[in-house]
């Protein structure tokens, strides 16, 4: 194999991994505060991609700009759905809540198909096909943008969780709901806000996904599989773990596709997922290990 090829795949892996990290961040955050796996998470991301595509095609809004609209929109929707529907059920029965998110995923998939048909789509901007040269490698511009935007948003999320009162309350809730309540955290409100943040992050990732990958209504099943592998490998509920796992798997995926075979690359995610469940069920950076996995 040409050494250039390996280098190329490493670069692609790192750039793609950055975006995977952002996609997984919302999922792991929601799990952290609610102990609910949001199976509709990837369907929300794809929804973000469709909305961004529509804004781009009909109003000429750049997909990166449309993120500014999608973030508050998805935050609001997330808060509404959590407060109005999910929260009530989650307090009664976690299992049914997971099934409910499964139902949401199906509804979103069907609606997307009804509105946008099941044709394959992609957001193709003027700079979609541009690339620049780095030594002997060509780096597609959109990949770089996606990675940069992802890192920026992840840094923002990290800062929010680390340096603000709200962030401290969220982390306390993730670590121990009951003691958080005891020290005066309004756990219900914090849960709703965290869920909404998770959904907002999903909405923000939509345009990036749309620029980088082909998407269609049923793609969310492929993505939720990958995202679950990332969050389990990182340790459910751990943002830091999700970041490291996303990088690792992003690189592993690209390298597999050039060294072993293209069609086995998706399997890498599940090899890690099942491997980690057997060897170290709490993942690399498990926060909620003992009681939950």
């Amino acid at each position: 194999m040409r050494p250039g090829l390996l280098a190329q795949s490493l670069v692609l892996g790192i750039l793609t991994g950055g975006m995977y990290a952002l996609m997984a961040a919302g999922l792991t955050l929601i799990f952290g505060v609610m102990r609910v796996i949001n199976i509709a998470h990837a369907a929300m991301i794809v929804m973000g991609a469709y909305l961004s595509l529509t804004l781009f095609l009909h109003l000429g809004v750049d997909p990166l700009l449309s993120m500014l609209l999608l973030i508050p929109l998805f935050f609001g929707l997330g808060a509404l759905v959590q407060w109005g529907i999910v929260n009530r059920l989650a307090e009664r029965d976690i299992t049914l809540t997971v099934l409910m998110t499964f139902g949401f995923a199906i509804i979103l998939e069907g609606l997307q198909g009804a509105i946008w048909t099941s044709s394959y789509q992609g957001i193709k901007t003027a700079y979609s096909l541009e690339s620049f040269q780095l030594f002997t490698l060509y780096v597609p511009v959109v990949r770089l943008i996606a990675a940069a935007v992802s890192l920026f948003l992840l840094a923002g999320l990290y800062a929010l969780l680390t340096f603000t009162m709200l962030g401290r309350a969220i982390r306390a809730t993730i670590q121990n709901r009951t003691s958080a309540q005891l020290v005066g955290v309004n756990v219900r409100l914090v849960t709703t806000i965290s869920f909404a943040i998770g959904i907002a992050v999903a909405g923000a990732t939509g345009p990036l996904l749309g620029m980088l990958f082909t998407f269609y209504p049923a793609t969310h099943w492929l993505w939720i599989g990958k995202l679950l592998a990332i969050v389990v490998l990182g340790g459910l509920g751990s943002l830091r773990g999700a970041f490291v796992a996303a990088m690792l798997l992003g690189i592993a995926e690209q390298v597999t596709s050039v060294t072993i075979a293209l069609d086995w690359a998706p399997m890498i995610f599940y090899v890690f997922l099942f491997g980690v469940l057997v060897v170290r069920p709490q993942g690399l950076f498990g926060v909620v290990e003992r009681q939950s996995l």
């Binding site: 060509y138 597609p140 269609y216 596709s257």
Partner: protein
Amino acid sequence: MRTPLVAIVGLALALTACGTSPTSQAALPSGSIVIGVSQALTGDKSDPGTAINQGYAVWAKQVNDAGGLLGHKVELKVYDNQSLADTAVSQYERLVTVDKVNLLFGPFSSALTIPTSAVAAKYKMAFVEGAGGAPKVFERKFKYVFFVQPAVAEKQADPFVNYILSLPAAQRPKTAAYPQQDDPFVSATEDGAQARLEAAGIKTTYKQVYPPTQTDFASIAAAVKGADIVLGGTIFDDAVGQVQAFSAIHYQPKAIYFTSGPSTTGPFKQALKDKVNGIMTGDGWVQSSKEPGNAKFVADYLTMFPNKDNLVPGEAAEGYSVGQVMAAAVKATQSVDNTKIADWLHANKVSTVQGEIGWDELGRPQGSYLLEQWQNGGMHVVAPKGDPNKDADPVYPKPDW
């Protein structure tokens, strides 16, 4: 306990007595001739599936405007199978046994044709289809399948291979790459072409099969880069994805051929703009074809399904040809008796917008494809030499993108 049992058995026997005998749809109906279709109108094959159905619709409208078939109106009974094979099978069961349609048209793609053709064979219904040409469609030796394209899938890339091998030694490519989707139709075409090119000394630098769900072509492009020519085994979206990924890393192959995709003209051009120029494909039909009836088909299609580029998808022509074939057989046999129709089709050739087509005993068409190339934003027939539809010369090496 005894009472309900006796009652039930009695009831069942009574029902049996007045039950209908299985499928006696051979007689001409008093009303319309009903044609059943289960089509991929939603799901991952919805684009080509919809295009085929548009072809069916154009044909039906023309027939009805001209007074119908044997004096009967034709009516299409269409169900959406969501691109799912078992749904398609259930729907053909329903079309035959409940709706009691007189004739059947096929769905899009070999993957749906393979299981559904067994239903048609079971009820001895002629299964005229425009989009199931993979070898496995014919492997089961059904006598009722008729594939309405000029030739079977393995032969699709033949005109391209012939053209490459006809180039003078100095220009001839030395290496070729075969990135391809895991699809029955694609692999038949690609394997045939690869074997012939390798035999002529053109080395294979890349051959990988990717799943139908592949949405990321960047790493494929990185690995393919450097090959003189690319034979992409594609369906549609992956062809678009490959071109975008190739051009993003400034890879300029001398020739690029896709098994499917470029001939779904409207969406292909919309996705790639002027990057379409130079891309080749093999097809049985081109919009500018001079076959009898083609001009009227194209005009009527554009009236019924207007689009801003005035392009007609190749699948619509395939669907339309299916109608032409069935109409010819019904007229010739003066009946909707499917056994007679099948016998007649095995023995005769039918003139369609894709040219004249005849079938062997397994329903395989016996002609050959055209080599087409996008030039100046339009699709042109560039080979074989001497074909009446050839309207341009091939451009090689292809212009940079």
